[in-house]
Amino acid sequence: MATKRNGIGVLMGVELVLNGANVNFIAFSKYTALGLDAQIFALFVIVLAAAEAAVALAIALNFYNNHLTIDVDRANRLKG
């Protein structure tokens, strides 16, 4: 996630991180007393990841329309 310069690559890294958290939730659901609560948390994580991907992709498309690239290092217009 930190080494990618492609904006969509960064998004995929975020998806991987959230997915790793989900694996932990499901493991806790099976092997600890957390039970069904962990599965509900995992469900919320999946839903929020989908929402985040949609919004971030819309932002990436907008950025591409304005700059004709999705190199995240080019998004420096707000730099002081």
């Binding site: 930190a2 992709l57 329309n65």
Partner: protein
């Protein structure tokens, strides 16, 4: 559960866990973004198989439907809409790669050291059904919990009534509506900054 079934589960778990981890690493080190998307499909699909193995059948199905079927298609569409040429590569400098690897190792060290400090409760044995580890068929308990009732907890002796997840469910619903409207607003068709491409000016 017989020994052969248990051994089969172990083999399947090993296969899918290896597929998940290796393709996750491949996502990180792949060069083009389309290959990253391919390895991400493998990784998320194997994760769904791991969920099925852990008796979380509804979460596994949701993972397949939402992640693999929805989010990744969305990402691939994003790749197609934003690639200015075939085999687009955005190389990172070696310093960035070293910095990223260092940060990753640092995070792994932090996770491992905090894992060492956790006092794990004893693994559930025997009466795990009483404690509430679900054993498959979780669709109805999950739906009831999202509606605010927890029959798997309420019917236990000595517990107060649990509240379920009705309010988080509503918050997520409103959040999804806001995201839908916001994403449609952000991604609406606009003229490009330099719309001088011939033949597409009238579209």
């Amino acid at each position: 559960m017989s020994d052969s079934v248990l051994a089969g589960e172990n083999v399947l778990f090993t296969v899918f866990a290896l597929a998940t981890c290796l393709s996750a690493v491949a996502v990180v080190i792949a060069q083009t973004v389309v290959r990253m998307a391919f390895w991400l499909v493998i990784s998320l699909g194997s994760t769904a198989a791991l969920f099925f193995l852990a008796d979380a059948d509804f979460i596994g199905a949701a993972q397949l439907i939402i992640y693999v079927g929805g989010t990744l298609i969305l990402l691939v569409f994003g790749v197609m809409l934003t690639a200015s040429g075939p085999y687009l590569k955005l190389e990172s400098s070696p310093g960035e790669i070293i910095l990223g690897g260092f940060l990753g190792l640092l995070f792994m060290f932090a996770v491992f050291s905090s894992l060492q400090g956790v006092e794990w409760p004893a693994p559930l044995t025997g009466d795990s059904a009483v404690i509430g580890a679900p054993e498959g068929n979780t669709l109805r308990p999950l739906g009831l919990a999202l509606l605010g009732t927890r029959p798997d907890l309420d019917l236990r002796d000595g517990d107060t009534l649990s509240t379920g997840y009705l309010l988080p469910f509503e918050i997520v619903s409103v959040h999804l509506l806001v995201v839908l409207i916001g994403a449609a607003y952000l991604a609406r068709a606009k003229r490009r900054a330099n719309a001088a491409v011939p033949g597409t000016a009238d579209s």
